[in-house]
Symmetry: C2
Subunit: 772 residues, 2 copies
């Protein structure tokens, strides 16, 4: 909102160091020296960088400037022009004076004083104090006490029994400035990205990834391990830590899942806020995604029913007799190789090329989305009303988190970067085989506007009052399944050099972790220090040969009784292999055994022993579900220890390798396949992507998470298989190629009795029931 001005008083005691900090601060776009002549010493003038010297006052012959000139309304030479520029661009300006009281209160020399005040010279600061406040602040976290009950109550009961700290208090405790926070109610707030600029000199903390062995269909508790670990680190070991989590989709919350905020005494609270709406990011993605979809169909209709000339006259309308291209249209012209600015100078051929996207209806890859489990929208026919003049076509809806825009949100590392990615999203192909982008549709600016708040991570807290970022939640098969780069980056600055950021990868380590390293870390430039590999006795028994486990059915006997040989089988196969996969990337592994109440002491000890024999730095049982952070203390200590060792991180493949080779590398080295086999469609798509210049994008495998192979029922470590690549697709905006191994459902359905049957709200107390 307008010109952002902060007035800082530079006292006479101000040091060159302080001026030099203003020089280095990327948030300070200019310094206006309102100094009484007596203070215009060369000391101050020489300290200020010329590009930040708004007034150009350092150019002046000092002898000319006397108090009389100032009080008569003298305007420093460059001030007026620079101020105009700053004002036009709404640039953050730091306003420095020796002391306000040395100035006449009325009729100050600076003509724009009035407009600057209107533009919000909010506060006046002492410079040293202002600079001090901008520094990294040590945490003074007030943790919330936990008194775990036995038996462990339901998740919503535990969440409700704990009163979260006001989010602004939490923010203050971890060193956020009030102006970096945008509260959404009492217990959630968005954090502004300007934090990255303020703390750009601050060293990052340790970076911990939580991944899992190949899970049963019931899930093995990566989220609870993540939350339990930060509760242990921050609330018990007094080491700064942050959990970075994915925002869950509302669809499954009302379908079969009922919530995804952790569980037991390791939760994000209030869990109902976490699970519903949050701060609207998924709604923003839905709005942006569906605006693109509406633009595609409307454009095809308009192209089908209008001449080149009519299209041109509407796309470049005459306003008060003048036709002008909008900036987004000039970008398209540029991409088309038509380097003209004057609409009148286009040839009829230019006009036709410009106005016709000529989308091939059978090659539109963009789908609509909705954040609801609505299986009847998987395949639909649109355009059946008479107003659409017969332009009907088959298409479908995905669940909102499957939108490419979600993957972009998770990978973008600035507003500018998000804007670039949104503009280059490919929505389909023209009849002549050219990719058509969101920018071609003229819609990319509107998408950024819809997403401008979604890019800021949301701050919440665990049951023990330790901080959590919730941000983004892309699919883990057709996308990379990791929370956002930006949340991790903000958290790494906030925790400080000795602190920890614990982030989570979707699915098993073969999928989520591999993508975390090869896609997310490659994009972000961040390097992980430790991998926490989550295992359960249940999943290990399954890999050791236990019978099938499925949601809704009672667990077979061997999962309830002690069975050391099944456990050993699972450790030797899947656990060992997943540890080896992490070691391919040069990162130490700590195995976290998520303990269930049916696990026996012998089983627990066996897992820990065998994990260490397989190369894990350490392996410890975790009791966070029943005990909160206190139950994960051993894990916290093990992670702290592992993080102090050197990590030799390396990527699995060079990004410039051919697409086929990159796929083959993942299949053989990570999954243990003998080779890959490409369908003719896959071969054709790879050729097309190479030809379009997409060859050096990383690979995002869309494979089942229930096996290391492509066959969900092959547990343990399958060998002797060839991985079939059915098709290959691309998310050009997000920046990856995704080969399809089998069929991926991108729209869940509702069961006969969805969770919503039990969800309700007491209209008097506003308490929610039925989330779990």
């Amino acid at each position: 909102i307008g010109l952002n001005v902060t007035q800082i008083c530079l006292t006479k005691e101000c040091t060159e160091d302080e001026v030099s900090e203003l020089n280095d601060d990327p948030r300070v776009h200019g310094v206006h020296l309102r100094l009484p002549p007596a203070s215009l010493t060369s000391r101050v003038l020489n300290a200020l960088k010329p590009e930040k010297d708004v007034d150009g006052i350092s150019d002046l012959n000092m002898g000319r400037l006397v108090r009389g000139d100032l009080s008569k309304g003298f305007v420093p030479p460059r001030a007026s022009a620079v101020m105009d520029l700053l004002e036009k661009h709404g640039i953050h300006l730091i306003y420095v004076a020796v002391m306000a009281l040395t100035f006449p209160s009325e009729g100050t020399p600076f003509k724009r004083r009035q407009s600057m005040q209107n533009a919000g010279v909010a506060d006046k600061f002492n410079c040293s104090r202002w600079l001090q406040a901008q520094q990294y602040q040590p945490w003074h976290l007030q943790c919330l006490k936990l008194q775990p009950l036995t038996p462990v109550p339901s998740d919503i009961e535990i969440s409700r029994a704990q009163t979260p700290k006001p989010v602004d208090q939490l923010a203050e405790e971890i060193g956020l400035l009030p102006e970096e926070l945008e509260a959404y109610g009492r217990s959630k707030a968005k954090v502004r990205l300007s934090l990255l600029d303020r703390l750009h000199k601050q060293p990052d903390g340790k970076y911990v990834l939580v991944a899992g062995i190949t899970p049963t269909p019931l899930g093995e508790g990566k989220s609870t391990v993540t939350i339990g670990l930060v509760q242990a680190l921050s609330a018990h070991l007094k080491l700064n830590s942050f959990a970075c989590l994915r925002q869950p989709s509302q669809g499954p919350t009302f379908g079969v899942k009922g919530g995804a905020a952790g569980g037991g005494y390791a939760q994000v609270i209030p869990m109902e806020e976490f699970n519903l709406h949050l701060t609207g990011d998924i709604h923003a993605i839905t709005a942006a995604n569906n605006l693109v979809a509406a633009a595609i169909d409307a454009r095809m209709l308009h192209e089908a029913t209008q001449s080149d000339k009519a299209l041109f006259n509407r796309l470049v309308p005459s306003v008060n007799g003048v036709r002008r291209f909008s900036p987004i249209q000039i970008s398209r012209l540029h991409r088309l190789g038509i380097n003209k600015i004057d609409p009148a100078s286009l040839t009829p051929q230019d006009v036709s090329t410009f106005v016709r996207l000529d989308l091939d209806p059978s090659k539109i890859t963009w789908q609509r989305v909705v954040d609801t489990n609505d299986r009847f929208l998987r395949k639909i026919t649109v355009g059946q009303a008479s107003t659409e003049k017969g332009q009907m076509r088959e298409t479908g809806f995905d669940i909102a988190v499957a939108s490419e825009i979600m993957a972009i949100l998770a990978l973008a590392d600035s507003l500018e970067d998000m804007r670039t990615r949104l503009a280059r999203m490919v929505v389909g192909t023209s009849r002549s085989g050219q990719p058509v982008t969101a920018e071609d549709l003229g819609v990319s600016g509107a998408l950024v506007v819809l997403m401008k708040d979604a890019i800021k991570p949301t701050l919440m807290q665990t049951l023990e009052g330790t901080p959590v970022f919730v941000h983004a939640g892309p699919f883990a098969n057709i996308a990379h399944g990791n929370s956002s780069v930006l949340a991790d980056k903000l958290a790494l600055k906030l925790v400080g050099r000795d602190g920890f950021v614990v982030t989570e990868a979707g699915f098993g380590a073969d999928i989520g972790m591999e993508k975390f390293f090869n896609i997310k870390c490659r994009t972000s430039g961040l390097r992980p220090d430790v991998v926490v590999l989550v295992a359960t006795v249940r999943a290990l028994k399954m890999h050791g040969g236990g019978s099938n486990v499925s949601a809704g059915a009672p667990l077979p006997r061997e999962y309830i009784d002690e069975n050391l040989s099944l456990v050993a089988g699972g450790c030797q196969s899947n656990l060992r292999k997943q540890i080896q996969i992490a070691h391919l990337f040069g990162v130490p592994v700590v195995v976290a055994l998520n303990v269930f109440k049916t696990d026996t002491q012998a089983e627990i000890e066996l897992v820990c022993q065998m994990a260490k024999e397989s190369g894990a730095s350490d392996a410890v049982p975790c009791h966070h579900w029943a005990q909160g952070g206190r139950g994960s203390l051993d894990l916290a200590r093990a992670v702290n220890e592992a993080a102090s060792r050197p990590s030799n991180f390396q990527f699995l493949y060079n990004i410039e390798m051919p697409i086929v080779e990159k796929i083959r590398t993942i299949a053989t080295k990570v999954y243990g396949a003998d080779d890959i086999e490409l369908s003719p469609e896959a071969v054709a798509k790879i050729d097309y992507y190479n030809q379009q210049g997409y060859g050096s994008l990383p690979i995002c495998m869309a494979k089942t998470h229930l096996s290391l192979s492509h066959m969900p029922d092959k547990k343990g470590v399958p060998t002797g298989f060839v991985l079939p690549i059915r098709d290959v697709r691309a998310s050009i905006g997000a920046g990856f190629i995704y080969p399809l191994v089998g069929t991926m459902s991108t729209m869940p359905g509702l069961p006969t009795r969805p969770c919503f049957y039990d969800i309700d709200l007491d209209p008097v107390t506003e308490e929610i029931t039925g989330l779990f």
Copy 2:
């Protein structure tokens, strides 16, 4: 969240009056007297109502209670049981002690002290001061200065040039308590409904409706008049005032409209926040609406593919060997006349009746919604994927604001009321002709949960820093087109007895105002004091016989040059008739002439003179667009004057009249029709609604807004026509019957060059361009 406890110190100077205020405060659910024995006087004990006496301490024999008992852990007899109850229901409890320091700091008598502290005994107040803070507070509004420029810049430039006050400052200025506010960023906040309880004794302010004459397709500026009027009242006449506005749909914002926050120097700021996402209410409506839709289709699929027994076993699953109905299922059983609680006691016939909604696919009235102008979704076929087993059917999407849930949000007057309305929404008809409701689908509790924050109005401000509520925005044809009852009620309490609440009705007075009176005021019980009728010289000329006006085309000559006879024609016809319509309801009318720069002085004077001759209390020109509140001072004075006169409000029809008679009354008395003509479908539907017991709902006419008649090109005062009723539909949750006069589009489309071509954001300054 949990038990809400406020600790208040009752000093010895405390009066009986103060205790009696605690008795009367509906937010105080119990008072726990932690008094040292010396203070347990009959004075205090007698003052407290027994039902608020949590401890039952007033029952005690005073002689028994000595300090020794207390310090030894004495628990007052009723305390423990009552506290359990309160805790279970999360009830707001006021905690009263003489002074904390008179108690031992450890080992206090009250066993639950620890759990109460965890539950958030946030602050300790002096009782008198606490009670004082609960009283109505006079405003101390700091208005923002406006310095209008000539020529008037674009809306976004004007909005951006003004820095809004922080919303918590605005809230404090108008007497909101900090705990009544939920900030969403810096410039928007939701206001909690508990305000209504706190100020329940406070008299309401004056209630002003802004309506319009029959508009041109370009719109005549009702929103700018509304905003200009409150700017004039609050910032210039120093009379408390609130504008209550509708939240705009995002669809048209990116289509052709580009924004709806007023215009020129009468705007809500920041306008981009107003126009995009706001606080997520429309997103919540979309989520709720589409959950119902997904539930309908999934249920039909499950019923089509499962036996009664299989359905029953899934709908009432055995959990640890026990089957139980959920409360929502018991409601359905009750409606079906099966008064059984034990699932085992149902006969096979009961089971079949219970598990089969037996929806007739051709009679499903529920549509999906999306907040995007997506014309290709007007008519679609869903369920074409093989997983849906051939259960495909034709349906469609509406724009989100056309959802019945939006109409419910606008009419609900509490969370409880919203819950009832959501549950009774009819989504279709069974094959045997019975209505099927959201509660039958088991989804109504989840809907309330999704809508729990949306029910709180959003506080924003005008360009001059005066308060605005933005809340709800139902369609003005298939729904009633008015902002929410709750926002009006909150605002009427906040402005105080002499203050003004200015609310706006959609379309012309014949539609928006008629529905405001007959539907909204009937539901809310509120009575309007003044109608402001907005007219423009442009629209009056059209009614006087000027040629057609349409969006995008240049205005014909007669609209730019002075033409007194056309103006006079419009005044004699449409303006006079609309004034008469307001008088049917017994409410005084002030005509606000929204002045355009092409209007001549003679034209302006003619309108004002003729309006007064037609019965308006006053008629004044308004210049808010160019001048802000200062330009609407005459209107503010006229409204203040008119509001001091007695208003004799009456409804147009008795709610118990037959449906047909209610429709005929509106058609003849308001529209000037000779009679109505019902299609056979309309007759059949009315019979059906009568039979279902919906006969005494009010009527919500779905008619064009471009003419008093059903024929959009008949301007002025059409006569001699019979109003055709093509069909009749019902929104049972919202609570009205809506006859269709012609075809209503509920999904707009995108033009060849939508607004989004110009919408963009500067990634450095985050400034938005292209909204207007």
